[in-house]
């Protein structure tokens, strides 16, 4: 695995260098090294020499598509995984970019490692980590543990079926064989079997931890409303106070607003400092949209998102 990563990394750098030296783009957004193990950070490269800072490994978890809003005035080269590319396609359906404004450097994704789960699997602080084959070796002050990489993937990555980015300008590495690690969404199927009472209690418990930092909103490429409903003072939809009902309100609407737009990248859940389960909301909506309207986000660049269109014979058995 790490050899493949190394090869990809070299080619990303090469491509970025080429784009920057030919001035085809103003900047390249990619992943760079970070001070803590098991993590990388988004970096913004403007010079050909800077391309040496780009890296690729199993910790490139961020969805870089969020930065396209910030750099909308520039010609941007961007390193994308499957989910990032899907977000970008969904965004371009909503006409967020000018054509040819983007140069997508696609990388077929090896699925990213859930640093929190790794952290919980060992006692003590992880000081160093690296990949070796399909294993991750984590070291701390007084331990050195080898873990199987595939056991510690993000839940959203385990069910991912579109790891090879689509609509890219250049694809680095060969397309991967698409299949989920676990069939469909076992967690959601399991959850659906519970009684409404239990389900509500779970939802209540999860959302009650929310501290209203709105990181889930800010990391989501699809959350770009000029004024979010929570910030609106007139009408005032929710109060920011003590009631869990308000927190539930926020989480319902945040997730529901992604109906047919969520690429399932799981950035919201990764961002949450209180570790609230958020993908079980968006994944359910994705499943529903697939079942009801036969739609998957970001697969086709010419199909409108399901809630902005309709079919005459949509299902309506629930309507009296």
């Amino acid at each position: 695995m790490e050899e493949r990563s190394k090869a990809i990394q070299d080619r990303i750098r090469e491509k970025a260098k080429e784009l920057l030296s030919k001035k085809e783009v103003d900047l390249v957004i990619g992943f760079g090294e970070w001070t803590l193990p098991l993590r990388t950070t988004p970096i913004f490269i403007r010079t050909p020499e800077g391309a040496e800072d780009l890296i690729w490994n199993s910790f490139c978890e961020n969805n870089l598509a969020i930065y396209l809003h910030k750099f909308s005035q520039f010609k941007v080269g961007i390193v994308v995984k499957g989910c990032d590319a899907r977000s970008i396609i969904a965004l371009s359906l909503e006409k967020r970019f000018k054509p040819d404004q983007l140069f997508l450097i696609g990388v077929p994704c090896q699925r990213m490692v859930d640093r929190r789960r790794v952290k919980k699997a060992v006692k003590g602080e992880i000081l160093r980590a690296h990949e070796q084959g399909d294993q991750i070796i984590v070291e701390g002050e007084d331990f050195n543990t080898t873990l199987r990489r595939d056991d510690f993937l993000y839940p959203s990555c385990q069910v991912c079926t579109h790891r090879t980015p689509m609509g890219t300008n250049v694809l680095i590495g060969d397309p991967v064989k698409e299949s989920p690690l676990i069939e469909t969404h076992p967690e959601i199927k399991e959850f659906e079997k519970k009684s409404p009472e239990e389900r509500w209690r779970f939802f209540e418990k999860e959302s009650s931890r929310c501290i209203r930092c709105y990181a889930c909103r800010e990391v989501c490429p699809m959350c770009y409303c000029a004024e979010c409903f929570v910030d609106s003072s007139n009408p005032k939809w929710i109060e920011k106070g003590f009631s869990t009902s308000d927190l539930e309100f926020y989480h319902i609407v945040r997730a529901y607003h992604q109906t047919g737009r969520c690429s399932g990248c799981g950035a919201c859940e990764r961002a949450c400092p209180m570790e609230i389960r958020l993908t079980y909301l968006t994944q359910k909506l994705n499943l529903d949209v697939r079942e009801l309207f036969d739609f998957e986000t970001g697969i086709k660049a010419d199909t409108l998102p399901p809630l902005s269109t309709f079919e005459i014979d949509d299902r309506q058995e629930f309507i009296k």
Binding site: L36, T41, T47, E49, D53, C213, K240, G241, A267, E275
Partner: protein, 349 residues
């Protein structure tokens, strides 16, 4: 006064506190997430995490706090002021950095001209029991920011985990009130040497590598530096770093409820939110992420020292740990230093 508390007595000790005080201590909400909460059962206290997610400021300056309630009776407004619980409070298990941060917030809230009664009342009523950090994290840089993993300042009592017992120091008058606590025993001379050992190990680990000293002067010259064009790039404007910061103290005041009755509440607010400085006219003095990030860093390292002779950062490292895009405040601090590595110039923040 140096004492010890055996771990087998720990539960009873806590129960004893609960009986007499409102006890606030770290509670685990789910694996890997803990906050300070009011304790009902000794078993709830969970000290596995070095830092709780929400810092101890939450106990004195809660995320949401009712300032007063109102009710309309006819044309008259009836205001109902909030009364704090009568019981004295104990904050247990706060780390030195969190405790230092409380004194930083106190500098703002308890001023000569105006005093924040909501904060002060809670502060006065609280006895703080600090807890030393035997194993600081690699993100901790408290020593560089003027503290240390075993800083006693601010604590009334100070606990150090010795394995099968806690080493207990009574530091202030409030703390000395505990000297007759039936669970405390005389400390062993061996304990003292062990504490010394733990301290040295922790000091060594935290180190002094982050150039916080003199940052105020350096930033004076950097008001319009190109540094700000780089440093904000990856910030997405969420509020994690400010809400989880033990020293951040900005708040918002809003009215909740209807015409007939409701309450005025204050919430934590964050300078990284565009709404924070947006005027009703539509003019925003800090229109982009660049100005907002600058405000956050400048407030901590330049404006605050100007007003209070101390940086508003205690080096707890929460903002580094929880940032979704992995912004490292240490790198920003290093950047301001003339001794920064060359590659920082390329924008590796």
């Amino acid at each position: 006064m140096k004492l010890r508390l055996d771990k087998k007595d720990f539960k009873n000790f806590l129960q004893n506190l609960i009986d007499e005080y409102d006890l606030y201590a770290p509670v685990q909400l789910t694996e890997g997430v803990s906050v300070f909460k009011k304790i009902d059962q000794p078993g709830e206290v969970n000290l596995t995490q070095l830092h709780t997610q929400k810092p101890a400021k939450d106990v004195f300056f809660p995320q949401s706090e009712v300032m007063f309630r109102y009710e309309k009776v006819g044309k008259q407004n009836q205001m109902i002021s909030m009364e704090e619980g009568k019981r004295e409070r104990i904050l247990f298990g706060a780390r030195p950095c969190d405790i230092e941060a409380i004194s930083i917030i106190e500098k703002v809230f308890v001023g000569e001209e105006y005093t924040d009664v909501y904060f002060l009342e809670k502060r006065k009523k609280t006895t703080i029991i600090g807890l030393g950090c035997n194993h600081p994290l690699s993100t901790c840089f408290c020593s560089s920011a003027g503290g240390d993993p075993f800083l006693r300042a601010g604590s009334d009592l100070f606990f150090i985990d010795l394995g099968e017992a806690y080493f207990v120091e009574l530091l202030t008058e409030k703390g000395m009130a505990f000297h007759k606590n039936k669970f405390f025993k005389e400390a062993d001379p061996k304990d003292l040497t062990f504490v010394k050992e733990l301290e040295e190990k922790a000091f060594e680990k935290v180190g002094f590598s982050i150039p916080v000293d003199g940052i105020e002067k350096r930033l004076d010259l950097m008001g319009e530096s190109s540094f700000w064009d780089r440093v904000h790039e990856k910030c997405i404007g969420c509020r994690i770093c400010t809400y989880l910061c033990p020293t951040c103290h900005c708040f918002d005041m809003v009215d909740e409820g209807e015409h007939q009755r409701g309450q005025r509440v204050r919430h934590w607010d964050s300078c990284l939110s565009p709404l924070y400085s947006l005027e009703t006219s539509g003019h925003n003095p800090r229109p982009t992420c660049r100005e907002r990030t600058r405000q956050r860093l400048m407030h901590k390292f330049n404006y605050f020292p100007k007003n209070f002779n101390q940086v508003a950062c205690v080096g707890c490292g929460r903002c580094i740990l929880y940032c979704p895009v992995h912004f490292d405040i240490r790198k920003a601090i290093i950047w301001t230093s003339p001794k920064r590595p060359k590659r920082y110039e390329r924008g590796m923040i």
